[in-house]
Amino acid sequence: MNLAVTIPYWGQSLLRVLGGTVAVLLPAGTIVYLFLFKMMSFMQSRLGPMEAGPYGSMQLFAEVGKWLQKEDITPARADKRVFRAAPLVVLVSTFLLVAVVPFGPDAYFTQFDAGLFYMLAVSSISTLGILMAGWSSANKYSLLGGLRAAGQLIAYELPMVLSVLGVVIQAGSMNLQTIVIKQNSDSIFGWNGLGYPYIATQFVGFLVFMVSVQAELTQTPFDMPIAESELVSGYMTEYSGFRFLIFFIAEFATAGVFALIASVLFLGGWGIPFSWFGWHSVDSIDNWMNVAGPLVMVTKMMVLAGIIMWVRFSYPRFREDQLQRFAWKVLIPVSLINIMLTAIFKVAF
């Protein structure tokens, strides 16, 4: 990138972390207001929040203000240090995830060749935080919720890891930036209007990925860990005040980040459909893509996050045995077969 002024490393880092904070909090806020407050209300024939600001649009600020004033209770029997640290671990996992998402040719926070691998690695840190929360609360509901969460998250981690392998085979790289550029500069049978988004050939992989994301986020068909009718609130039962809100923010921020990652892997990332001007490397791409790229990413994220939430509001909960059976007996064999078929096509053509 050729900037008119060179920014020292500390300045760059500061800008990066500020950008990262926006990239975590903005999707979280939008998803909570637009989908959780409004879309869910309309689907249930009610209006949702209407008092704070026009159409309740200031509701989020009111909520944060409310949670800031709530007492922070630590149960007497709890393992206090672990109990207090658990929400922070979950939030750190979200911030680490957003670090590798590319938003434009130069608009990225950090990138390395093992980007996809890194993403899968840090996404499982949140499992650790949830298990910490469930165990340290010294509450039977929390313990059950934490164990269920751990069992579910590791069971759906595998289909997720295996489903993105098809993309890695097609792109020949684990660098997320390279994957985006490859998708946009390739062509389908010589027609390059749309580029070559991998959803065209990896549709099975995309489906498996989205189902695993739903489970990793413990959104409703897979919300056994926080099943409110049997476990009060699962691993979050003992949390109150702002620590509870950190869990809540992390959950929806991670939904946004996973939607971003899915759009990078399968939908062509920051490339605008039908307008890729024959660019072939990062350096040849016009600078205005750095502004347009993030907007395109937000649009694609909203579509995918909308689908995640739509499924959440529409389906009843899985039972624990159905949930494990679905992961091990359906998703894992399907994604293994998907890998082999992709590899055969890659070598044959």
Partner: protein
């Protein structure tokens, strides 16, 4: 420091900002929130009934078995990634090799399946 290492160092800053942001908000909260602990408030919440026995109760061993299965499969998946990036260079040879590898992996799954490990009783 090389650019390569700097790209990894950026990750550390992202973890740091998460902690700083959370601590800042918790700090603000600590100033304005009430703090009136009482013996009854600090009892574990079990739907309003006084808890019976210890919070750390025994639970199903099944989670442990699934965790073991997970470790096996996850380690195997790690081996597939480097192969996937270099498939174009390996060609048919790489394809056959990975075919055997994935076949063995599937055999492991079928074994666990037949042994009834995947059944949640």
């Amino acid at each position: 420091m090389s650019d390569f290492l700097r790209d990894y160092l950026n990750v550390v800053w992202f973890a740091a900002i998460a902690l700083v942001l959370a601590s800042l908000l918790l700090g603000i909260s600590a100033i304005i929130r009430p703090n009136k602990p009482s013996a009854e408030k600090n009892i574990a919440y079990e739907s309003g009934v006084n808890p019976v026995g210890d919070g750390w109760s025994q639970s199903q061993v099944r989670y442990y078995i699934f965790a073991l299965l997970f470790v096996v499969f996850d380690v195997e998946a790690v081996f597939i990634f480097p192969w996937a990036t270099r498939l174009e260079t390996y060609g048919t040879f790489g394809l056959v090799e990975m075919g055997i590898f994935v076949f063995v992996l599937l055999l492991g799954l079928v074994y666990a399946w037949r042994k009834g490990v995947l059944r949640w009783v």
